[in-house]
């Protein structure tokens, strides 16, 4: 089998893992679940990943790259205020998925914290990259308290994602999105 096919299966497994881990949670997801979603035989997973942890790590990397792609798209907007509001708009656009499964990054971070492996540091790095980007936008708006505002905005999203998921009500996310856009506009 050629290297390209081999790489294809590896990537398929990582992408399927990212999706299934979000929907079912880390502990409830078996390697069989991921293998089925990726259309790869169960026992064959270990040819590509030595342990389940390594596969989870690959899923985190995949998720991190998707988040980077989103950030690069937002960077095309000239005004940092518009970039932040576009980010909020993207969250609101995902409110139905969030009501069912929660925020992909947040639920993963919450679950991985309870495990002994070092994977919680990997998801913290992904979340830290988003936080740093948000801080740069607030700084470009001339705010001296950019870091604190970035934490507040990301926390507002993570929190309303949890409530949206707990009460299974996408309207919570939509209302909070409107409130956050007004808040961004109100900042000097």
């Amino acid at each position: 089998m050629t290297d390209s096919t081999r790489a294809g299966k590896r990537e398929r497994l990582a992408a399927a893992a990212a999706r299934v881990l979000h929907e079912q949670g880390v502990e409830k997801t078996t390697l069989a679940d991921i293998a089925r979603a990726a259309d790869v035989p169960v026992g064959n997973v270990y040819y590509y990943f030595k342990t389940k942890d390594q596969l989870i790590g690959a899923a985190i990397d995949t998720h991190g790259r998707e988040l980077e792609t989103l950030i690069h798209r937002l960077d095309r907007l000239p005004d940092p205020r518009d970039r932040l509001k576009a980010l909020v708009g993207g969250w609101v656009g995902q409110s139905d998925v969030t009501a069912r499964f929660g925020c992909p990054t947040g639920t993963l971070a919450s679950e991985l914290d309870k495990r002994d492996d070092g994977l919680d540091r990997a998801i913290a790095t992904v979340m830290g990259a988003l936080l740093d980007w948000m801080e740069r936008q607030f700084a470009a708006m001339g705010r001296a308290d950019a870091r604190e505002l970035a934490v507040a905005l990301l926390a507002a999203y993570q929190g309303v994602s949890l409530l949206t998921n707990t009460f299974r009500d996408p309207a919570l996310m939509r209302a909070e999105g409107r409130r956050l856009e007004r808040w961004i506009d109100s900042l000097a």
Copy 2:
């Protein structure tokens, strides 16, 4: 064995479950872990609870009663604004525990959502009771948008709890607490 001792063991199991489930997470916690924490023989757990789910349900009830006790204490304060700020102050006081294990209610809600049983509705009820109480405080302050403000405040706490836990940094919770107190004061 008398009924009082039996009730004592039941309550000890439920209280130990609430504590261990918060620290280790639902899926990582075995019945042996809970039995050990409650100082009850492992197999004997099934005399008091028919299934693991029933024991988790009892832990949720215990947690809900603790939250009710807190709310009753806050209700003694005459000003609704002071009640909300005292609630925030309580969150900040728990920032070290939150950095290690996250918010007890939030992590439980996030984990139970991934399970098939109906326990996610039970924790949603607990969280809904807190949300309703917060709404009443904002309404007493004369706010027509009391519900939306209650969602925003609870979301801010849940979100910063997740960030505090992910980055293992209690200072995040303390800074957000100060910001939220200023925000409450700023409301008409």
